[in-house]
Each structure stands twice: as structure tokens, then as C-alpha cells.
Amino acid sequence: MNDLPQQLASGLILGAMYGLIAIGYTMVYGIVQLINFAHGEIVMFGAFGGLTAWLMLPKGTSLMLALPLMLVLAVGVSVLVGIGAERFAYRPLRNAPRLAPLITAIGLSIMLQQLIWSFYPDAKKARTFPQFSGESVHLLGANVQRGELFLLIAAPVCMIALGFFVAKTRTGRAMQATSQDPDTAKLMGINTDRIIVTAFAIGAAFGGVAAVAYGLKYGQIDFKIGFILGLKAFTAAVLGGIGNIYGAMVGGLVLGLAESLATAYIELIPGMELFGGGAWKNVWAFVLLILVLLVRPQGLLGERIADRA
């Protein structure tokens, strides 16, 4: 078990990334009870935005200097796509039956994938993303790559900022109100349309940060990364209790840890040799999801069961 710290670190880092993306699902769901299945693709757009920033800079620029610009562009692109999705794909369907926006979301996600596939130069195969060079950093018995440090810093910072925003600012409180009862919130003078757009934008911005983190971590991106990322982040959001922003982060971390630990240790249990390893990690992650939902249908931190469903 001497690699436990390493596996925990890998799981936490992966989980932090899932968590950042899961925020996008949970924010939107919390406000409009809509699962934005195109969110994975919004993240993918962010990754290509970040890459574009890097490619625009003169060759030889240090990544440290380029990173802020890459972040700005990644977040910018994500937010733009997120707002666009809300405006053109979801708003016209706001009062339509539940199934309609769901189908739209799937259509939108295919469209976004194909846009990158057709128009981004050389994106029909994986593109390389800049990575920090240098040795990994030793932290509490685990090796952490330079690129992953970014995630370890960005995830908590983003979470704290979001928590503060929702709890303390006027817009944040308006969001809470809209989430509790959109009609009454509207009567109280809250511009709910604006709040919904804000929710999409914040989710997309977190997606943009996660996208850059993804690129730095793996050093490559392609037009299909949104699918698996979106699926995992959605799972994380449900696991943590969809609609709850802290739940998204907790769900992400739990999911990341579950995948990492299942890969490493299930096969060490006598009699379970066949069910361990990388091929089974998703199975165990979903077994965990089912178990949690059996005991707590609202998710780990979920409070409100969908009262208007």
C-alpha cells in the first residue's frame, strides 16, 4: 500500500477537474432544472480557446507568462459559447416540455463537436497542448506534476470565489431566490433572464478553467474530449447532489478518488482479481454512484428533492 499517497493525489487531482466541470451542470440545474448536456463541449471549446491563445503568442514565450492570456481566452470562449447556447438553444424552449431542451442539448453538443472538427486547423486528430517542463514536485509523499499544480491551486480558489459570490453579492442572492422560486423572484423585481444567463456564464467560466487544466495535465486535446469529461462531471454533480455547488466539488473528488483507488486496490482483494484494474474503474465508480443514490437519492450534499419535477 506504499503507493497510497500517490493514488490519493492522482484521484484528488482528477476529482478537482471533474468538480470544476460539474459546477457547470449544477449551477444550471439549480436555476432552471435543465441538464445542459452540451456542457462537455463548452469545456472542449474552452480548451481550443486556450490553445489558440498559445498559438497566437510568439514562439518561445514562457508558459508562465502565457498562462493568464490562455486562461482569459479559454474562459472567454467558453462563456461565449455557454451564453450562446442559453440564448439560442435553451431560452426559446424554456416553457417547452422537459424532453425538448434535453434533445436540443444533445444536438447542440454534436454540432459543437463538428464545428471544431471541421473548422479548427488540424483538429481532426489530437493537438498538442503546451506543458510545464521540469521535474514533478514532491508533496506529502506523492509526486505531483507541474501542470497539475495549476489545478490544485485553481480549483479551491474558484470554489471559494464562487461560494462568496453566491452568498454575499446581490446577484448571488438573486440567484438563490430564482432557484427557490423563479416566479416569485420575478415578482420581487429580479430579472430572471439575466440570472439564468449568469448561471450559464459562471458554469462555462469554470469549464474554461478546467479546460486549461486539462490541457496542462495531459498535454493534448481533441474534439472529442468533451464527451467523457461531460459524462464524468455530470456523474460527479449527481453524486454530490445536483443543484448544490459544494456538492459538485465533493462529488467530483469522490468520483476521482473512487476511480483511482478502484484501479489500484480492488484487485488486491482476494477473489476480486478479475474485477480490478483500469478496465473496471468506471464500473466501480458507477456502483458507488448507485449505492449513494440508494441511500441518499438527493446526492451527498443535496438538500431539496426536486419539488417541481
Binding site: N143, G219, T263
Partner: protein
Amino acid sequence: MRHRSLLILTTAVAAGSLTLTACGSRGDNSGGGSSGDTKTLTIGLDAPLTGDLSALGQGIKNSADLAVKTANKKKTVEGVTFKLEALDDAGQPASGQTNATKFVADQKVVGAVGPLNSNVGQSMQKVFDKAGMVEVSPANTAPELTQGTAWRSGKKERPFKTYFRTSTTDAIQGPYAAQYMYNEKKLKKVYVIDDKKTYGKGLAATFRDEFEKLGGKVVGTDHVDPKEKDFNAVANKVAKAKPDFVYYGGEYPAGAPLADQAKKAGLKGPVVGGDALFSAEYVKLAKKNSEGDIASSVGAPLESLDSAKTFMKAYKAAGYKLPYEAYGGYAYDATWAIIQAVKAVAEKNDGKLPGDMNETREQVAEAMQDVKFDGVSGAVGFDEYGDTTNKQLSLYEVKDGKHTPVKTGTFKD
């Protein structure tokens, strides 16, 4: 207002999809038909032209295109003009099958080249076999495609008699790498990983059998999901097991990040794999962590063969944007084999092809068995299973960011 924007969007989407359909249907209607004395025959090509493996797929397509152009220019078959129709399978078995059905339904298609992936090949074989149409793959290496599922127990049985290939199989590719690593590199401890696909699983298994037979030790095994990019948990396990090297049965889109992450986690030895790791993309994606990694590939390195010089020159002259990659030479030979088979049929029937396409297809498939010529990859011919008679293999090591040939030979049991 709400309705107007929706209207604009719908219109845009509708207009877009109409344009796309227009593009799609164009290929089906034009071309073909006999004009005067020359007859146009289509050779179908199926490969992943988009997606992760498109680098290899595009190389296959360009090389097949070159073969067709060469045959037309040289008038290899008197009175027949060849045309290449390339379809994209994106590495998906279902798409491959759809493409195969399309080729079979098209009465101008005489035979097909492709695909790249063994599992795609598996899904296409039956369709072609039913239609009696010949299929020559430049890159399928899974043994069961030609020797049946029981090939390991020695009960070889050819499942489809219209299926041929110009590449050697994993039945010798894995063991060849095992012998090299054990006997020449003197590395005795291995960690075996595969992606659970037809190709990867088979390759890893044949490697493992031979490596253990030689006396090597397998310190651990694992499987990865090739759709993902995060292999850190597996990488940590590998690092902990401290193997001398890792053998990966799978393709470069997952192989490259796996190698990268395993080395970052602390793996000291190289990552070794089959022909699907033999791509410049592998080096590009794993960056400097690909240094020292080894890939086996079918045949001798093209650069070292006299027969390939003309091909390489012609490929360059034709001005293709992308390189021919690992399978270019084999794709050229596969296409050329079909052209030769058509020629043999024409000669047998006094310079004319049978009027009926189904009959032509059957005769071409029959003639394929005896096709022999000196191709790009050496002497091309097929044995009783449809496998190539050229059993040469090579190993390449990444040195200074490039796959460099380190050994070429024939596998000996």
C-alpha cells in the same frame, strides 16, 4: 422576438443540412459508366480518415490513390480505368460495416482496400464474403481474421475466403518483440497493458506467451479504456511494480498519454508496443517521454528497400499533404494486388471482363489467391489463409524524436 430567433436558427440549420446532403449525394451519381472502349472500375477504400487514427488512415488513402493513378497512367489493365472511392470509418466497426454494405451495393465497385483496425475488419469481412467481393487490408493484424478464432490451439481455419491482407499478423509481431526485448535488450521484467480491443488484446497476449516461454517475468497486467486520457492510476501501479519495461497492446492515441503518464509517475524503462504505436503522432503526443520507446511494425523499413524507392519518389511527386505513415506501402500493395487480380481475370477472358459485375467480383476474388508481384514492401503473395507470404518484421526505437529502425528480420519460433 423569441420566435424570430428560433426561425433564423432553424433556417440556418436547415440550409446547412441541405448543403451537406447535396455534397453527400454527388459522389453516388457521377462517375463510372463505360465510355467507348474503356470501362471504369471502382476500387473501394475504407480507413479512418478522421478521428484519432486519421494520420494512419490518410496515409493509406493517399497511397491507394497513388496506386490507382499509376495503374491508369501505365494502362496496367488494357481498357480499364480505375477509380478510387474512399469512405471514412472513423475507427468504428459499425461505420466500417455500413461502408462495406455501400461498396457491395455499388455495381461499379470491384473490390475494396482496408480497413486499418482489426475490429473494423471483423465487422466488414462477412459483408464482402457474402457478395463474393475481395477485400485486401493493408493493416489488420489480428490473427483470427484469417485463421479463425481457434488459431491459438493450432486449429487454423480460414473463415472468409475473399479476405486477404498485405500485413503480417500479431501472432508473430508480439513474439518477435518479446524475443528482442529478452534476448538482445536483456530486459526480464515486464508490465503488460492492453486496451481490450481485438488488436490490442491479441497482441498483448501473443507477446506475453512468448516472453514467459523465454523465461521473462510478467510483474503485472492491466487494461485501459482507450477512449479516456487519464491513466494516472494505472501509471502509478506500473511505477510501483518497477518493471524493466512496459508492453502496451493498443494504438497510439491512448498509448502516447499512457507512456507519458507512466514515465512521469516514475517508470524507468521503455514502453514497447506493436505497429499501431509506430507513428510520428506517437512521438508528437508523448513528447520527450517517448524517447527510447520501441514499436514493432510489419515488413522491413520502407527506407531500406529498393522496391520502395520508386514509391517514395512517386508519393513525393504527387504532392500529398500528409505522409504515407506506417501502412502506406502496404496500402499501395493491397491496391495493386486488386489491380493485378483484375488484370488476371481480363487475361483469362481474352482481354475482356465479364459483363456481369457479380461474376467479375467472384473471378477477381478467385484470381487474388494466385496474385504475385514485387511490391513496395517486397514480394507480395498470399498463403492458404489469405495472409501475406512476406513475414518480415522490424523494430523501431524512438531516438531524438524519431522512430529509427533497430532490427529487421523474420520471426523464428
